[in-house]
Amino acid sequence: MSKEWPLWEVFIRSQHGLAHKHVGSLHAPDAEMAVNNARDVYTRRNEGVSIWVVRAVDIVASSPADKGMLFEPANSKVYRHPTFFPMPEEVKNL
């Protein structure tokens, strides 16, 4: 092989109404072959009703080093969760 096929990330919608979910990756020379290969590699047992393929190089990801900066601010905002507000037993439907 003179040049290595690009890497594609594969996302499968397992059933209508659910979001596409990342299932893995594969190599393919173009988008059409990537979908064909994804069908064979990731949906041999009715795992999906729809396939997305995205070139891995086109995905922009957050860096593990930025984890604190990105996600820590949410830690201190517990009032965003309903359990932050205790409700009396006798009050219903809240």
Partner: protein, 326 residues
């Protein structure tokens, strides 16, 4: 298991940042998963690259002994099942290559390492499949041993490897059952068929037990791999489980396990079994098994014969891209 642990590992002189190393080991100890972009010690990356790529190579080479019987399966039903199983093995190889690539080694480098003989694959696939009963024995014993090894690996510390194992395990139990079903049918058949089943068990039993790798006392990488959650149970623990689980299955078939020393210990609740001939394992590992040369030759030929097709796909993709750009 699907990897061979007799390779010498360079003495570990850790040049890692002790602070980073401690943080990494704390995460692993807390049962967290390590992801591709996370910091990891070089030895962890190297060990996993070797283990996952060997596992992938084993899946790919593992297609050959069974592929040998696709055109000669005894019925259309058996043929369709075997075809599906072999296709699964290809899929498992692909999941694993993808997982290994996330550690920074390209697919092409891994394939070249296999084809040049530099990379290893499981010794089990260097044995021949002589009769149809071998296809039964392979599914029952070889896939059975693989499951025993792979189920714990679903919790291994490297995320992409663990996720690949989840997919593999979901698919693998069909493989073992179809093999056992072949054995059941043959054992309920004519005297000749039952004799074939016994012969297959005789030839596959010991190589299957060797799949778990050398005894714990001889296993070079175990302590570090256990600490890093690359290895969750020792070779001997898994081998014992395999024997305990498989002997009653053989009894159900009315077959005799080819081990005169095999006996159930009522105190421990485990089977005791005879000594394994490790010289055979070492010999097959060194390339002198019955099929080492043929397997590699067939694999390289398939790759070379497919070159024109892979090149055509690239040419077509380039042409389409050029037209779209024009």
């Amino acid at each position: 298991m699907y990897t061979t642990e007799f390779e010498k590992q360079k003495k570990l002189v850790s040049t890692e940042d002790p602070e980073k190393l401690a943080a990494f080991e704390a995460r692993v100890a807390a049962d967290e998963f390590i992801e591709p972009k996370d910091w990891m010690p070089e030895a962890y990356r190297r060990t996993l690259t070797r283990q996952i790529s060997q596992h992938a190579h084993s899946e790919i080479v593992g297609m050959l002994p069974e592929g040998n019987w696709i055109s000669r399966a005894p019925s259309l039903r058996r043929k369709a099942i075997l075809l599906a199983k072999v296709q699964d093995e290809a899929g498992h190889g692909l999941y694993l290559y993808s997982a290994a690539e996330t550690l920074g080694t390209s697919r092409q480098e891994m394939i070249e390492a296999l084809h040049s003989g530099k990379a290893k694959y499981s010794t089990i696939f260097n044995y021949p499949t002589l009769t149809w009963a071998d296809i039964g024995a392979v599914g029952w014993l070889v896939d059975g041993a693989a499951i025993m090894n792979q189920v714990p690996l679903q919790r291994t510390s490297y995320g992409p490897y663990a996720r690949a194992m989840v997919r593999v395990c979901k698919e693998e139990s069909f493989h073992q059952r179809q093999g056992y079903e072949i054995m059941m049918v043959m054992c309920a058949g004519t005297a000749d068929q039952k004799r074939m089943a016994q012969d297959a068990l005789n030839r596959w039993w010991w190589p299957s037990l060797m799949m778990f790798g050398p005894s714990d006392a001889e296993s070079v990488n175990s302590a570090q791999s256990a600490q890093w959650r690359i290895k969750l149970f020792s070779n001997d623990e898994l081998r014992q489980r395999m024997v305990d689980q498989t002997v009653p299955q053989a009894e159900f078939l009315g077959l005799t396990v080819p081990d005169p020393d095999l006996k159930f210990n009522t105190d421990t609740g485990h089977y005791e079994f005879g000594a394994i001939d490790w010289s055979e394992f070492t010999n097959v590992l060194k390339g002198n098994g019955p099929c080492n040369k043929e397997r590699l030759k067939t694999r390289v030929k398939a790759w070379d014969d497919g070159a024109w097709f892979r090149e055509a796909l690239v040419a077509y993709a380039d042409k389409k891209a050029a037209r779209a750009a024009a």
